[in-house]
């Protein structure tokens, strides 16, 4: 508010000095622009507050924090340089099997690979099935989307029950004469159980992206390929998939970013166990900060996780969309 009268009086005053002339030149159409700018920033104030404080400041704060040793409440933060990183990398190069952080990294890599591949394929299949469905398309879309909107906590509770040794999943397995494991208490099966649950919820969410993309495909091309005698599979393989590349990349990238940050089910269903087999980096970051009060170390883990996600996404882009570097 206070800047507005200043701005307008400056603009209306004759440009005596060089400085004044320069300012007038910069402001262009004087009064209007200053007013519009002020209004615009008033409209933006709440957003800029959140953007600056909770997104930009915290990101920078996080990077800075990773260079400190912080245990809130006990001692003053102490600058330790790259020691937090050094500690993590020493663990990696000496005995990663003993370091909970690197165990969590190994877990999440398995998790991301399995989940992203399966959820992308499943999402595409769901979308394709809906694409060729003629009766009740809208109803089926609604039904398929339901796993995506139920909360991770509610589904965790439900699957806690479905996965119990005498639960539905083992019952279904027993129908085909497989005796199912105690899913969530078996170090071999706990992580796959969480993968399955995640694929179930996320495939539905990503189906929507493929549906939107399939709808936008140029119909003439598909018709032309049918006229040329291509069968459904050939059309799909040589026309549809190449045209879907940008969407496939989007789904893979969003899926990767999301899966790398898996937390809810790991905390809720297994709390990282048994034997750290479902410990994820985000859960380990949470533990390091809020159980062990190693905030600096936790921040260093966050930064490493971010860098890994970033690199993986870039590699994926190169692999899936080699021609899209101009965007």
């Amino acid at each position: 508010m206070a800047t507005e009268p200043v701005g307008s009086s400056l603009a209306s005053a004759p440009p005596l000095t060089a400085e004044g002339r320069q300012m007038r030149g910069m402001r262009g159409r004087p009064k209007r622009l200053g007013r519009d700018t002020l209004t615009a920033y008033l409209f933006l104030t709440p957003y800029l507050f959140v953007l600056l404080v909770f997104l930009i400041l915290t990101s920078l704060y996080g990077i800075g924090l990773s260079l400190f040793q912080v245990d809130i409440g006990f001692t003053a933060p102490q600058f330790v340089g790259f020691q937090n990183y050094q500690r993590l990398f020493e663990q990696l190069f000496t005995n990663p099997g003993l370091s909970v952080f690197w165990i969590s990294m190994a877990n999440i890599l398995k998790f991301v690979i399995a989940v992203v591949i399966c959820q992308t394929i499943l999402a595409l299949i769901l979308a394709l099935i809906l694409q060729v469905t003629l009766v009740g398309k809208g109803i089926f879309r609604t039904i398929f989307y339901i796993p995506a909107i139920t909360s991770s906590v509610a589904t965790a509770l439900i699957f806690l029950w479905l996965y119990n040794p005498d639960g539905l999943i083992n019952y279904l397995l027993s129908l085909v004469h497989i005796s199912g494991p105690d899913w969530l208490n078996d170090p071999l099966f706990a992580l796959p159980a969480l993968m399955l649950l995640n694929i179930w919820t996320t495939a539905a969410a990503f189906m929507i992206y493929f549906m939107a993309a399939l709808q936008d495909l140029p119909k003439e091309l598909l018709e032309a390929s049918a006229i040329d005698g291509a069968n459904r599979f050939q059309t799909f393989r040589y026309i549809t998939v190449p045209l879907l590349r940008p969407t496939i990349f989007l789904v893979v990238a969003l899926g990767t970013i999301g899966s790398f940050q898996m937390f809810d089910q790991a905390k809720f269903m297994t709390n990282g166990g048994p034997l750290n087999s479902t410990l994820t980096p985000l859960l380990e970051i949470y533990n390091a900060a809020f159980q062990d009060a190693h905030f600096g170390l936790a921040a260093a883990m966050s930064v490493l996780l971010f860098i890994i996600i970033f690199i993986v996404t870039i590699v994926q882009r190169r692999l899936i969309e080699p021609s899209a570097s101009n965007r």
Partner: protein, 295 residues
């Protein structure tokens, strides 16, 4: 039904009809409907099965082989859950968080979107670019510092700790910009001639034009806040302040093997969102797509 669908499938590609026998097409549709049936069961089966089982007794819920319908329908699971005063408080807290975040997001992202898409001012492109960039920052990176900032502001264990960071989110602003960009310039020009202020132009002329965007933002925000688990877990400290998701986590720890209670309790988290989804389906899906697909 089969006849109608076969005809419709063949219509657009007349040539294909001669090339392929009719039987081939019906075989194809059989597969499609088989898949539809399978995915229908896997999509809603677990939820329906859990809902039915939430009316079973504690022993029946663990019977092997499982029963689909309860032998005797009981409501004690629900009365036990609701008999816990803390549980009602958690529902209230979750509602406060979700409602406040939704209202503020709609208002503030509408305002920000209006400025970024309809007003001309220095710094506009920069702010929009930063918006796109921060949408890419994983929440992981900001979790610890966000807690420390909230801690420094002495907001830990308050509603503000939940609401303040969530009150306007980059994805909401992004949706608003995308929708408002497409509106014709004449809208504001005629408003200006009528002597309307910018604020009035915003809420009487622009906002009504982007109702689908407002709905999408409202729904995505409500869903996000209602289902949020990590941030409330970090930011809240005492039992009476927990939101439903965090409350359910502690509820689970105290009733570990009482699955019938857990199922009943999970319904309080699921059913409100399902109801919203059935009412505002279109906006759920439009919103989800518009946050992901960038111009």
């Amino acid at each position: 039904m089969a006849q109608v669908s076969t005809q419709a499938a063949v219509q657009p590609v007349e040539v294909a009809r001669e090339a392929r026998p009719e039987r081939h097409i019906s075989w194809w549709h059989l597969i499609v409907y088989l898949f539809l049936a399978i995915f229908t069961i896997t999509s809603i089966g677990p939820l329906i099965f859990s809902f039915l089982s939430s009316f079973k007794s504690m022993s029946e819920v663990l019977i092997f082989p499982p029963t689909i319908f309860p032998r005797t329908w009981i409501t004690t699971n629900y009365t036990t859950v609701l008999g816990d005063p803390a549980f009602l408080r958690w529902i209230l807290n979750a509602f406060i968080y979700a409602f406040a975040a939704t209202v503020l997001n709609v208002l503030f992202s509408g305002m920000a979107g209006y400025a970024l898409s309809r007003l001309n001012f220095p710094g506009r492109n920069l702010i929009f670019l930063v918006t796109l960039a921060v949408m890419m920052i994983p929440a992981t990176v900001t979790l610890i510092p966000k807690f420390l900032v909230v801690n420094d502001l002495h907001l830990v264990n308050t509603y503000l700790a939940l609401i303040l960071p969530a009150m306007v989110q980059p994805f909401s602003v992004f949706i608003m910009v995308q929708f408002m960009k497409g509106l014709p310039k004449e809208l504001e020009e005629s408003a200006k001639i009528d002597g309307a202020s910018i604020w009035r132009t915003f809420y009487q002329i622009i906002l009504p034009q982007v109702r689908p965007a407002l709905a999408a933002v409202a729904i995505l925000t409500f869903q996000g806040a209602w289902n949020d688990f990590l941030w409330p877990l970090v930011a809240l400290g005492t039992r009476d302040m927990y939101t439903l998701t965090v409350g359910l986590f502690y509820f689970k720890s105290t009733h570990y093997t009482e699955y019938s209670l857990l199922l009943a309790s999970s319904m309080f988290n699921t059913i409100p969102i399902l109801i919203l989804f059935f009412i505002f389906q279109r906006y759920f899906i439009e919103g989800a797509v518009s946050t992901g697909v960038k111009g």
